[in-house]
Symmetry: C2
Subunit: 246 residues, 2 copies
């Protein structure tokens, strides 16, 4: 029998602390595919090299996602490794919504690889093109293992880690999104006692003591004073999707 | 036909730049198992959560490693997520040598989990205990997918990323290993024009302009002036395994 207490699940003599999973390390990727002329892409964090001879890379994708369906049919995968400077809105364009309802490639730079897979170029430090050779069914997800067809470095820039992305979303650090500002500036560490509001769709936290520089909302602006036209800088959802969390 | 040029392999119309693989993100883990009363552990970087309901984690292990053989037989896995302060010598104790020749658990704190698997506690921020449910054969490696039995946070400390580990090994950053020094100090960024020597076993680079603080070798010490008793701070190999690289 499972009981939950303070984020810890107990099952007879076993115990699972969900916070332990935060200490596994991942990157942040746009994973793309195509099927019958229709292309789709999504955000993923579980991409990893399995072997070097032959060069094989694995990707884990939720079965409910359209990208999973396309990969399963076409056996081709594009992987764009997002650079550390990727704006949150860009990540939001590929996450938190389904390719069944929207064309995620509108306004995006991409190319069609030799295998026919679309490869997202915007904000990508490097990309990979894979041909799937194996699939492993793991409950809600499929692990696709693909042979690497192409691998190219697009710009010499650090990749974004999943931890860094989570720290921005949770308000622990604030990315500098102003083009006019010095790009070499380090992200600001956030410590504030002012009210915080969380986006119920993607988990982004608006901290009044920090504001949302990328949308021109300066530090100290109370949530209720932000225009109703403002939307979540991560997933683009409207202001009424936010709830106060502190 | 494969041709290699400047680290780039070309295969007809396809092209693979090996530097692209450096941009995939990983952590650093001790992966352990047991078989017929014999325990073993090794360093791995490919550990990742696949599903959350049920909680399933995957690990990729080279088939030539003893740990692979033990996991395959016993179906149990221990994973210790190394903290960012883990000394290189500790990592060296589990990597770069085989459990067939040495008992890697000598002098190490560990516990036996409910499943019987040994779990390394020293330098671990958190640990997981898994029971293998699926195995995927991928050429030189096996991807083991296990149900999470236990997951515990041991100390509230950041995990070590594989990138950080590589940066230390390659001499890009130098870890502060002196207990008497201020633990909050940031690692030193290394820029030196003095000769460098590389360990042919693990790839660690000795930079004369930096020294090896953990072994009491101060910055400015030429490689030839280091005692012959000195050994590689990462893998423990003797001085004669080093070759000059600059």
């Amino acid at each position: 029998m499972l009981t939950e207490f303070n984020n810890i699940c107990k099952h007879d003599k076993f115990m699972i602390d969900n916070k332990a999973f935060y200490k596994l390390s991942y990157g942040l990727y746009v994973v793309s595919s195509v099927s019958e002329g229709k292309k789709n892409a999504q955000i993923a964090n579980t991409v990893f090299q399995i072997t070097s001879d032959p060069l094989m890379v694995a990707v884990s994708i939720n079965k409910q996602n359209l990208t999973n369906e396309y990969i399963h049919k076409s056996k081709v995968i594009g992987i764009s490794v997002l650079s550390v400077e990727t704006p949150m809105e860009f990540i939001g364009q590929f996450g938190f919504r389904s390719g069944r309802d929207t064309d995620k490639f509108v306004g995006i730079s991409y190319k069609i690889g030799e295998s026919g897979v679309p490869i997202v170029l915007d904000n990508a430090a490097v990309y990979f093109e894979l041909e799937v050779e194996k699939e492993l069914d793991v409950s809600t997800h499929t692990v696709f293992v693909g042979r690497v067809l192409n691998a190219e470095v697009l710009k010499d820039m650090d990749q974004m880690s999943y931890q860094y992305y989570q720290d921005i979303k949770s308000g622990k650090i604030q990315m500098n999104l102003h083009d006019s500002m010095d790009k070499t500036e380090k992200p600001i560490k956030v410590t504030g006692d002012m009210p915080k509001y969380q986006c119920s769709i993607c988990g982004y936290i608006y901290d009044s003591s920090v504001g949302d520089l990328g949308s021109g909302i300066s530090a100290g602006t109370l949530f209720e004073n932000i225009s109703d036209n403002w939307s979540c800088p991560v997933c683009g959802m409207p202001k009424d999707k936010f709830v106060q969390v502190s």
